[in-house]
Amino acid sequence: EPEVTQTPSHQVTQMGQEVILRCVPISNHLYFYWYRQILGQKVEFLVSFYNNEISEKSEIFDDQFSVERPDGSNFTLKIRSTKLEDSAMYFCASSRERDQPQHFGDGTRLSIL
């Protein structure tokens, strides 16, 4: 069964540095999402992406964050000038259509030192 894959599984970065989290959605899916989960808290929606543009974003997704689909397979989340509070598990998800179930990747654990 096809899966969403995320790399790396764990990223350790110094505060203030930029980080790029990578995702390969399922190949025939059209809608892409990023969520994050701070330790001990809820999974929170960050952004949805369709047809090469952001379709919705949360208040968390400020100018520090950006998403890109640089080629036909990858979907990336860039976090500029990372802060300690950006430490979290980041999940990528994709769906065939907007009202179809979302399939999640294993997540990337981001640790900011």
Partner: protein, 114 residues
């Protein structure tokens, strides 16, 4: 605003006992509700969604709009049901199209003892 509440962080039952994981939601429009499950060291997986009205692995959930609830039930719990369970909501527009984004509850860790 969308909100999902799972009042129990932890739930323990014995094998063969009935189990109910509670989920309440708040949403002014037409909601679509889901249950996702995360087994140990595995990814979040969709367990069921209310519009498909299926029973998956013996679990069922009924959307009660009057009580704004979507509780997950299984009559006879199994040890392999031990996992983290998340209730999630997606809003729907006037035409019935999903907005896509999921709002999750806090999650309930279910432990089924032998």
């Amino acid at each position: 605003a969308q909100r999902v509440t799972q009042p129990e962080k932890l739930l323990s039952v014995f094998k063969g006992a009935p189990v109910e994981l509670k989920c309440n939601y708040s949403y002014s429009g037409s909601p679509e509700l889901f249950w996702y499950v995360q087994y140990s060291r595995q990814r979040l997986q969709l367990l069921l969604r209310h519009i498909s009205r299926e029973s998956i692995k013996g679990f069922t959930a009924d959307l009660n709009k009057g009580e704004t609830s979507f509780h997950l039930k299984k009559p006879f719990a199994q040890e392999e049901d031990s996992a983290m369970y998340y209730c999630a909501l997606s809003g729907r527009g006037a035409g019935g199209t999903s907005y896509g984004k999921l709002t999750f509850g806090q999650g309930t860790i279910l432990t089924v003892h032998p």
